[in-house]
């Protein structure tokens, strides 16, 4: 049995290995590049220079850090649960890398073309929460435990809006032959050749973006790893290679979800003119499509850095309330509206109108919530006065 990779005939096992190696190798390099970029970008936001010493403009900083981490001692706390502690990084690291199998980079440039690609991506990428909880539980550290519990709650809460926002798009994909709906990422991208889905589904995009920040545990949802509260959360006790695996996993997940957002909402490689250029010249077309994917992904990643440089952290109850009371109902309303439009065959403009109205509603809700002062959850007012008297 022979497989085929980029036009070369190859033994199927070798083929699988080659694809895996490609994914791991590329993504490791990409993650290190992202770490470097984040340091540079945030440094500019903060009027600093960032890394400058290692290599020209500091580009060797990430490899240097990686080498340093490899050389460090792999410590394990005495009371830690050895199996859980040691295995946790793999549960974070492996699923995220598996996800890359289904991501389209350019027309036909996909490690595997999966018919249920979107479902696969969502299913596999959410496994990494298990790794976070394992890390927190296995470390025998209270900060880690608290961080892990927060991560679990957050992961579950934001998985739902994320999935439903993507479902909203998957519903409205219009395929040739008047068929609606697809989970094939390649098809989803191809159908955006003229208008990307962010235009039809702005609310879904906003929900996706917010949920993505939360899934990635990035500011303003970096509650599980909040440096000033739980000192790094589940990773407090990790060092050396295991810690760097978590770190690599985080940045790879950032890249992954940005790629997914670029593909599903921003038109991936297809918009604008992705196919037209490919028809003119094959090689140029592939390069152009790669460029489009990279530009859109890069833009999304840049906004994530931007948010990190300027936003404070939300509190855990606000985070949960925002997901369950605001994002989830709105995303349900979105698929409800989509469903109505599709079933009755109303014009597509209604998709845009409904989604835009939802966006306005979201803004109003946030505005009202911000203006209301917080209450003390654990203490009715005046309870302490009796205590002080005794």
């Amino acid at each position: 049995m022979n497989g085929e990779i980029f036009g070369f005939e190859i033994n199927i096992w070798l083929d699988a290995l080659a694809r895996l190696g490609l994914a791991v190798g590329l993504m490791t390099v990409a993650a290190m590049a992202l770490i470097y970029l984040e340091r540079k970008v945030i440094a500019r936001f903060q009027q600093r220079l960032g890394p400058t010493r290692t290599g020209p403009a500091g580009i060797l900083q990430s490899p240097a850090d990686a080498l340093k981490l490899l050389g460090k001692e792999d410590l394990r706390p005495k009371n830690a649960d050895p199996w859980v502690f040691e295995l946790a990084p793999y549960f974070v690291f492996v699923p995220i890398f598996l996800v890359f199998v289904a991501i389209p980079f350019a027309f036909g440039w996909q490690i595997r073309i999966l018919e249920l690609g979107l479902l696969y991506v969502l299913a596999v990428s959410s496994i990494n929460i298990v790794g976070w909880v394992m890390a927190g539980w296995g470390s025998d550290n209270r900060y880690a435990m608290l961080g892990a519990l927060r991560a679990a709650a957050q992961g579950i809460s934001y998985e739902l809006p994320l999935v439903i926002a993507l479902v909203a798009v998957a519903m409205v994909v219009s395929l040739p032959g008047d068929v609606r709906g697809s989970l094939n990422l390649g098809e989803i991208v191809t159908e955006q050749g003229h208008i990307p889905y962010i235009v039809w589904q702005p609310l879904a995009f906003v929900i996706f973006y917010v949920a993505m920040l939360a899934e990635l545990n990035r500011t303003p949802f970096d509650i599980p790893v909040g440096e000033s509260e739980v000192v790094g959360g589940p990773f407090v006790e990790y060092s050396g290679i295991r810690w760097s695996m978590f770190f690599l996993g985080e940045y790879t997940a950032l890249l992954l979800l940005s790629l997914l957002g670029a593909a599903v909402f921003l038109g991936g490689w297809a918009w604008p003119l992705g196919e037209t250029v490919a028809e003119q010249n094959e090689i140029l077309g592939v390069l152009y499509q790669f460029g489009l994917t990279a530009a859109k992904t890069g833009f999304l990643i840049f906004t994530v850095f931007w948010v990190r440089a300027t936003m404070p952290r939300m509190r855990v109850d606000q985070l949960m309330a925002f997901s369950w009371k605001v994002l989830l109902p709105l995303s349900f309303a979105q698929i409800l509206a989509n469903g109505l439009v599709l079933v009755y065959g109303w014009p597509d403009v209604l998709l845009l109108l409904a989604s835009g109205a939802g966006l306005v509603l979201l803004a109003v809700i946030i505005d009202r919530a911000v203006k209301r002062p917080a209450e003390r959850p654990g203490r009715p007012s005046g309870a302490l006065e009796g205590e002080a008297a005794t």
């Binding site: 945030i42 600093r48 209270r142 000033s228 440089a309 300027t310 404070p312 939300m314 203006k371």
Partner: protein, 375 residues
């Protein structure tokens, strides 16, 4: 019954979380043990004393001029204000008349120091609420400019020891006035940046409004002072209510908050910085040439027997010096009334019932300097 046995088997325990003395968000070496029920704080036990160095006792072995240096080391973010309290106490006890120019320069430096101290606060507070370093760097940019000026004047970035009983150690540099104007411009820019970065940020508002509120009556009971007290709506400002230096001659507003929550404590400080800028501008107009030390200052400063309590409005509140002299050239007993120690007492009252994340923000909003708490 089943539910009952179930409860006995799985007893709910309060989880104790130790924060500090080494924790990224305890300001200085402060330790607090939080009892938490899930994410809600049920108890707070603060531990202080890691920085106790016996500054008060040490001052008893130093003559009145040497003591100034120790004030720097208690309140290391507002050294001029700390020095001022001590110097004013000694002057009053010894009956020294201070020349006018020295007083104006002292006022300018104290207000500049208030600016640098509050910049430190906004930076650290920004980090507490979770802005990744940006508020910190923006604040420190302006604080650095101020520290540069202090270094030009006193020769030191942190431990100035520039005030003397009777006046100043030496004359300010020739370009003092132009430098102060430059520094004020950058400070105003810094305040604007903070307004843009934090005050108008939705998440910042959501995190700080209504958090750690303390009523005016409670705040007075705990002996709070300074911006933390004014945030609760008590318009007590020693610069106006128990005036010293030439504060009665300058115009400024006493800023008060309403809710006494974390946001008010932050906002009062930020507004206060604008008032400081106003005060300095007025002082610069009044600053005239003249001597900086009295003409006849004894080589060995002695005070008649007596005792005195002298307090000033430091950036964190009332910084008081209680000085007992039995004659001679050194204090018999010196007691520092620390603003931070009193303000910190209210921490438990403010924190219980809030989330763990809020505990960090509340602690940050009190703006403690541990060296002053422990002395």
């Amino acid at each position: 019954m089943v539910a009952n046995t179930h409860e006995q088997e799985f007893e709910t325990q309060e989880l104790l979380i130790n924060m500090g003395p080494q924790h990224p968000s305890t300001h200085g070496v402060f330790r607090m043990v939080l009892g938490v029920d899930g994410e809600v704080v049920t108890d707070v036990v603060p531990h202080i004393g890691y920085m106790h160095r016996g500054a008060e006792k040490l001052c008893e072995t130093m003559d009145f001029r040497q003591g100034v240096g120790y004030m720097d080391r208690t309140e290391y973010l507002a050294n001029f204000n700390a020095e001022l309290s001590y110097v004013l106490a000694v002057e009053k006890l010894a009956g020294i008349e201070v020349p006018e120019r020295a007083q104006w320069v002292r006022m300018i430096l104290c207000e500049l120091n208030r600016l640098s101290s509050h910049f430190m606060f906004t930076g650290a507070f920004g980090t507490d609420v979770g802005v990744f370093g940006t508020a910190f760097v923006y604040s420190f940019r302006e604080r650095e400019v101020l520290l540069d000026l202090f270094e030009e004047i006193t020769g030191d970035r942190l431990m100035y020891a520039y005030f003397r009983p009777g006046g100043l150690a030496w004359e300010v540099p020739d370009n003092f006035e132009s430098r102060v104007h430059e520094v004020l411009l950058s400070a105003e820019r810094g305040i604007r940046d903070m307004d843009g970065l934090l005050t108008q940020n939705e998440i910042f508002l959501a995190r700080t409004k209504g958090v750690g509120a303390i009523s005016a009556a409670d705040a007075i009971d705990w002996g709070m002072s300074g911006p933390s007290l004014r945030a609760s709506g008590v318009p007590l400002d020693l610069r106006r209510d128990d005036p010293y230096l030439y504060y009665p001659q300058v115009k400024f507003d006493v800023i008060t908050g309403e809710a006494g929550d974390v946001f008010d404590r932050y906002h009062v400080r930020l507004k206060e910085m604008r008032e400081s800028v106003r005060i300095i501008e007025q002082c610069m107009e009044r600053l005239a040439d003249g001597p900086i030390l009295p003409e006849r200052l004894p080589r060995m400063l002695r005070t008649p027997p007596g005792e005195i309590y002298e307090r000033t409005e430091a950036p964190r509140g009332e910084y008081g010096i209680y000085l007992v002299s039995q004659g001679g050239n050194r204090p018999y007993r010196l007691k520092i009334r620390s603003a931070c120690l009193s303000n910190l007492q209210a921490l438990r009252d403010m924190t219980i019932g809030h989330y763990v994340a809020d505990a960090v923000v509340i602690l940050g909003s009190i703006d403690i300097v541990l060296c002053e708490v422990d002395r």
